[in-house]
């Protein structure tokens, strides 16, 4: 089998990641400035001030931290210019900012496919206590992803679970 290459580049949506913390932070700021309580039909108060500010502000900060963490990961991954290569005996793929990981198919202990409503489909392989995830959206096309999945499933024959 000749080596097969797949283009694999991390993607990042600023809107999807930064809009939720901005909205929650905005609601939190409004609750703080206007001393607003959250209530249903002005009768049943479910979040009195200052808890309304704490809850929305806290959730906004948590989501902002998560968005920044994802952005840092994306910046690191985008500096890595390696592609995924499948050969007869092993697979190489980008990892971190500059690394290239090589895994022999015999070392792959498990391979499972997951589906997420936000991130789409992904393939995870477990190799010697390490887990590597390949996301559908990072491939250059859906066709490339399905080819990669089919070939990887065919080549990883020594799965233990």
């Amino acid at each position: 089998m000749d080596a097969i290459q797949f283009t694999y580049k991390a993607k990042f949506s600023y809107l999807n990641k930064f809009l939720p913390p901005l909205v929650l932070g905005g609601i939190g700021a409004y609750c703080y400035l206007e001393q607003v309580s959250i209530s249903i039909k002005r009768r049943l108060t479910i979040l009195p001030y200052p808890y309304s500010f704490y809850v929305f502000g806290g959730a906004g900060i948590l989501l902002l931290a998560y968005a920044i963490y994802k952005l840092v990961q994306y910046i690191k991954a985008s500096q890595n210019h390696h592609d995924i290569t499948l050969t007869e005996k092993y697979i190489t793929f980008p990892q971190g900012s500059s690394e290239k990981v090589q895994v022999y198919y015999d070392e792959v202990q498990s391979l499972y496919i997951q589906e997420d409503s936000e991130d789409g489909e992904s393939i995870t392989i477990d190799v010697n206590n390490n887990s590597y995830k390949f996301q559908e959206e990072y491939f250059s096309s859906l066709s490339q992803y399905t080819d990669f999945k089919a070939i990887l499933e065919k080549l990883c024959t020594k799965l233990t679970h």
Binding site: I113, L142, S143, Y145, T146, K149, K154
Partner: protein, 115 residues
């Protein structure tokens, strides 16, 4: 789960006929009412029905790439699982049976996928 099928299986009819030879479950083509993101325009899909609550749909993503999704074939049950806390509870209860049907369909389609 997405799978790339052989060129001769590039129509819903051919996939339905293939699945009908492989499974005893009911297979038919229907308008895709089980749309999870509401932006997509409704299109046709192959439905494999085990019961009102457990089934799977096969829908084309690209020319010969299909997506296999677990669904509740019954319109009533499908509406119940759309929104709210009750929907989440019902979905949690019935998702196991739906996933089994989707897995069975996917295993059949593996025979006609391109490697």
């Amino acid at each position: 789960m997405k799978r790339k099928l052989k060129q001769e299986y590039n129509t819903l009819e051919s996939i339905k006929d293939f699945l009908a030879t492989k499974t005893s479950l009911e297979c038919f083509i229907a308008l895709d009412e089980w749309i999870f993101d509401e932006i997509r325009v409704s299109r046709k899909c192959v439905v494999v029905k085990k019961s009102g609550i457990a089934g799977a749909k096969v829908v084309f993503e690209e020319a010969n790439i299909v997506d296999i999704q677990p669904i509740a074939p019954s319109r009533f049950i499908n509406t119940l699982t759309m929104r709210g806390l009750l929907a989440m509870i019902i979905q949690f209860i019935i998702s196991g049976a739906q996933n089994k049907v989707a897995e069975e369909v996917e295993n059949h389609l593996l025979e006609i996928q391109i490697i």
